[in-house]
């Protein structure tokens, strides 16, 4: 019984005897214990908090963070003020890293499957045993190239270890992303000749024209962009104007001064129509115009606003006005990505969009596209390797033919992300055990891990070493360093159980198999230090010291190393002829265009196990925890669909999902939008069997040129199922604030002060 006045009063109200009892019980014994540990490390002092710099592990482009550690436990994450990417700011996702660290469903020892695949019966085994089993099975494979290592795109020194592991072992490395970025990357190469993503100087731009990319919530490096957006809105300069072109009213669209609805897949046409107006009226750089069109080889006349207007859904008049504004407010910046690049003509769309920067002279200029220099390391690639959807379709074929002997997965969840129609899961499992060995390096159960034969738990990012060359970078050389800020949470389980660093696990496997990875040192920390030595020897940048030890400590303390003077020095970003003008997008069939979008919290599903992210409300709908379908309010009324009605979305490929209707006035009557991230078939208490997986019903459409997944090209029919469920949303938790005509919550002004 707890000694509180509240309980005391409760009991007193009940009976006097209760009150006596209360006195007699006092404080529970366990609460009275003061532990004197064996040794007291500095950060274990009760009440003393220490902030350690490291890197966030939840986002695609890791942000520099500082973690508050008290008594050996991580308590709070905040942005690292010094780190060039996010400069002290952070997203909801970074914060939730703490829940990943202390998650009740974290896997605390290597697991060996004992039941049938996917049955969920496991037995804990020791690391020695696990690695020996794996080495034995991999050793027996004759053709090592039939072993596939699927990871998330890994950069920095972990990327180096993974590449080295794959190449020395002779196995295939296939980085996987749910939302294929092949088109975006290729577009940077085709339009600007850049391998790494450039930085977009949003803060320095006066006019911002964005297509599809929801850069304020999940696309690219959202915290960096959002920080710049604050400057763009209310900085030292005149308030910028932002026009956003997208089929859905996304967070970014909602924040723009003007949202332009475009029919899915026609973004490139709109961009070229804008280009056409700029060239025709001679508003832009005429030499760039000549270069882009190959001196007239590409006929921009085909994209005259009038010709584009009908099918894109953007009026000719509006296109002309935007073109005028875009060319008339230097520096102007065009950004494209997300759904704009997720079509059969995705690459061509993006090429057209990014070519606009050439026309207005923003390529390589402040307020425009700032190229990033290569990494300051000799053996770390400029950008992590990537594969496309087509590669994965190919792998599916190979698997079903029994040509893949083992699939090793880490940070990738293809069973979740691959459209069901590809038959990926069937190919993986098959009646004949197509893939004899599936190993997953994972901290949590997910759809793919649940099917594995062997699960090797990974250290959490806050317990691990690592480095990151930001991609996109800040426009100069920067390296983030990850250090363990707390001792491994499962340390108490002993050296044979518990989790390990992924890199160390790979190095251990290679060692057992007697493959020399040719890395510096025995552990990942050694590899990292060897990398840091390279930085130390440059003798420039944010951390300088007389000896390496001091340099290393300084770099850890600051969270990394950067050199603001080391900017891009490659060939200038000269305009090239638009290689492939966008053709018509090939779309699925159905009454509604389906726009899937990554949720702001759980994104493409990687954060679904974290309750804070599950509970994070979607900015537009304020909903959470479930999968909902954004549908136009009027259209819904016509169809007699109300909020919470369970509706079935069926694609022309026959696959369907069920989700809750959320009618609102901000979406086109011809579009439905569904958040990604839910509907996991494998997982824990917060994510398993919750909501629906929109990726699963997608048509197998891909970019005709690059093979990237055209995830925004599916169309669906919808039908009511008759079911109803409350949409968990925050809206109206607090009743509408009492207002009348004179009282307004958000006040507007036409003029900046």
């Amino acid at each position: 019984m707890d000694l509180t006045r509240r309980k005391f009063l409760t009991l007193l109200g009940g009976s006097t005897a209760g009150a006596v009892l209360f006195q007699a019980c006092g404080v529970p014994e366990a609460e009275l214990l003061v532990e004197a540990p064996l040794e007291m490390p500095e950060d274990m002092v009760t009440g003393l908090d220490t902030w350690y710099a490291t890197l966030c592990s939840e986002c695609g482009n890791p942000e520099g963070i500082v973690v508050r550690v008290m008594e050996g436990r991580a308590k709070k994450v905040e942005g690292n003020v010094d780190y060039p990417i996010n400069q002290g700011k952070h997203s909801a996702r970074c914060e939730a890293a703490l829940q990943g660290l202390y998650h009740p469903d974290r896997i605390s020892a290597p697991l060996l499957r004992v039941g049938a695949r996917g049955e969920g019966r496991w037995e804990e085994i020791s690391w020695t045993d696990a690695i020996a089993r794996m080495a034995h099975q991999l050793g027996q494979v004759q053709d090592k190239s039939s072993i596939v290592l699927a990871t998330n795109p890994v950069g920095g020194h972990l990327g180096k270890v993974v590449e080295r592991f794959a190449s020395r072992m002779g196995i295939a490395h296939m980085p996987y992303e749910t939302l294929d970025e092949t088109n975006l990357r290729l577009s940077m190469e085709r339009t600007y000749g850049l391998k790494a993503m450039p930085d977009f100087d949003i803060g320095g731009a006066s006019y911002l024209l964005s297509f599809g990319a929801d850069f304020l919530s999940t696309w690219g490096s959202p915290v960096r962009y959002a920080r710049a957006y604050g400057q763009f809105r209310q900085g030292d300069r005149e308030r910028g104007t932002h026009v956003h072109v997208e089929p859905r009213l996304s967070t970014t669209a909602a924040n723009a001064d003007e949202w332009v609805f475009v029919n899915p897949g026609w973004e490139g046409h709109v961009a070229l129509a804008i280009a056409n107006v700029i060239v025709e009226r001679g508003l832009g750089d005429s030499s760039a115009a000549a270069a882009l069109t190959g001196n007239g080889a590409v006929d921009l006349g085909r994209y005259a606003p009038e010709r584009v207007a009908d099918r894109s859904g953007v009026s000719a008049e509006r296109i002309r006005r935007i073109a005028d504004e875009f060319a008339g407010h230097p520096p102007a910046l065009a950004i494209g990505g997300g759904s704009a690049g997720a079509h059969s003509n995705g690459l061509a769309n993006l090429n057209a969009i990014y070519a606009l920067n050439h026309l207005v002279g923003s390529a390589g200029k402040p307020g425009g596209v700032i190229p990033n220099p290569g990494p300051p390391f000799s053996d770390v690639p400029e950008a992590p390797a990537r594969t496309s959807y087509a590669d994965w379709r190919g792998l599916t074929g190979r698997m079903s033919r029994g040509e893949v002997s083992a699939l090793l997965v880490r940070g990738a969840n293809p069973v979740y992300g691959m459209p069901k129609v590809t038959g990926f899961e069937d190919a993986l499992l098959g009646g004949r055990f197509n893939v004899p060995l599936i190993v997953s390096f994972a901290s949590f159960m997910d759809d793919t891990t649940a099917l594995a034969d062997l699960v090797l738990p990974e250290n959490h990012g806050l317990e691990d070493w690592g480095s990151d060359v930001p991609d996109p970078g800040p426009g100069y050389q920067a390296v983030g360093i990850r250090q363990p800020v707390v001792r491994p949470f499962f340390e108490g389980r002993g050296v044979h159980l518990g989790a390990r660093s992924f890199a160390d696990a790979l190095m251990g496997i290679a060692q057992t198999m007697e493959v020399d990875l040719g890395l510096e040192g025995e552990s990942f920390e050694d590899v990292l230090q060897a990398g840091a030595r390279e930085l130390f020897e440059t003798g420039r940048g944010s951390v300088r010291a007389n000896d390496f030890r001091a340099f290393w400590n300084g770099a850890l303390q600051r969270g990394g190393w950067w050199d603001t003077t080391a900017a891009y020095s490659g060939p200038s970003l000269s305009p090239r002829q638009i290689a492939s003008a966008p053709g018509e997008p090939s779309l699925g069939s159905g009454a509604f265009a389906l726009v899937p979008y990554p949720s702001i919290g759980i994104t493409d599903g990687r954060g679904a196990h974290l309750p804070w992210l599950q509970a994070t409300q979607d900015p537009i709908t304020t909903a959470s925890w479930q999968t909902w379908v954004e549908i136009n309010a009027k259209r819904a009324e016509e169809m007699d669909v109300r909020e919470g009605d369970v509706i079935r979305l069926t694609a022309s490929n026959g696959r369907s999902i069920e989700a809750l209707a959320y009618p609102h006035p901000g979406i086109s009557p011809d579009v439905v939008a569904v958040p990604m991230g839910q509907g996991h078939t494998g997982g824990g208490q917060y994510d398993k069997d919750r909501g629906a997986n929109v990726m699963s019903l997608l048509d197998s459409l891909e970019d005709s040129e690059t093979g990237a997944l055209a995830w925004a090209a599916t169309r669906v029919n919808i039908a009511k199922t008759g079911g109803w469920m409350r949409v968990p949303r925050f809206e109206n938790t607090a009743p509408d604030l009492a207002t009348d005509e004179d009282q307004h919550i958000i006040k507007l002004t036409a003029e900046d002060s």
Binding site: T4, R6, R73, A74, K75, K76, V81, N86, K89, S91, A92, E95, L98, Y102, H103, P104, R106, S217, A226, R227, G230, R233, Q234, L249, T251, A254, N255, D257, I600, P611, L613, A615, P619, I620, T622, S624, W625, N632, P665, G666, S668, R726, P728, R729, F730, E731, N732, A734, L737, A738, T739, D742, Q743, H744, I745, I746, L748, T749, A750, S753
Partner: protein
Amino acid sequence: MAGEKWGMVIDVDKCIGCQACVVACQAENNIPINTEDLYNQRRAVQWIRIERYWEGEFPDVKARFIPVLCQHCSDAPCEPVCPVFATYHNPEGLNVQVYNRCIGTRFCANNCPYHVRFFNFWEPSWPESLKNQLNPDVTVRSRGIMEKCTFCIQRIRRSTRDAKAEGRGVEDGARELNPACVNACPTDTLFFGDLNDPDSKVARMSAEETGEHGRGYHMLEELGTEPNVLYLKKVDKNAKEASHA
């Protein structure tokens, strides 16, 4: 401690609705996990929340965001209705909730026009391992108690204490002083500081923006609650000094 008046300035023109402040607040202040059930019961707790307002209909539609948190009113409607003085105005301009006085009448929540007070209908619970994350500087509120934004008073206390020990004043805008939401906000929408210090950022902003040409306004100003949170109007070039609820 005398003479401070803590306040906030919120530039609505910068808020993008990204929820970073909301989760930062949850992490800092030991707010229980807002489960699906809690949302459905309309009992989710968010000391700071982002409200979304619709304006118009497709295609001429706008969705606008505004962060709403306790306004720390100088003339707070929640204070006089508390029968046990569990909520009152402290000398630093904070509207405080004293947990061990609160008996859970919920009168204050009913009387708050901003709906920023939250009642603990249930004993807060976390899975055992997640308790490792809890902030030892903040009381976990038990069942039957009202709670709300404190401007992260634990940070104010700690930073003033540290400053005192080092024989200096608290630096305006220092990260150890700022509430968790302010530090997180990616666009710098939120500013926090001492309104009584004429050199502080918030005092300067208030002075600049409350004039005739400024963008400053108080939420539901007409009610005369005299909030210590100043909002700056959203700029919309197409709006003719319009506003909307």
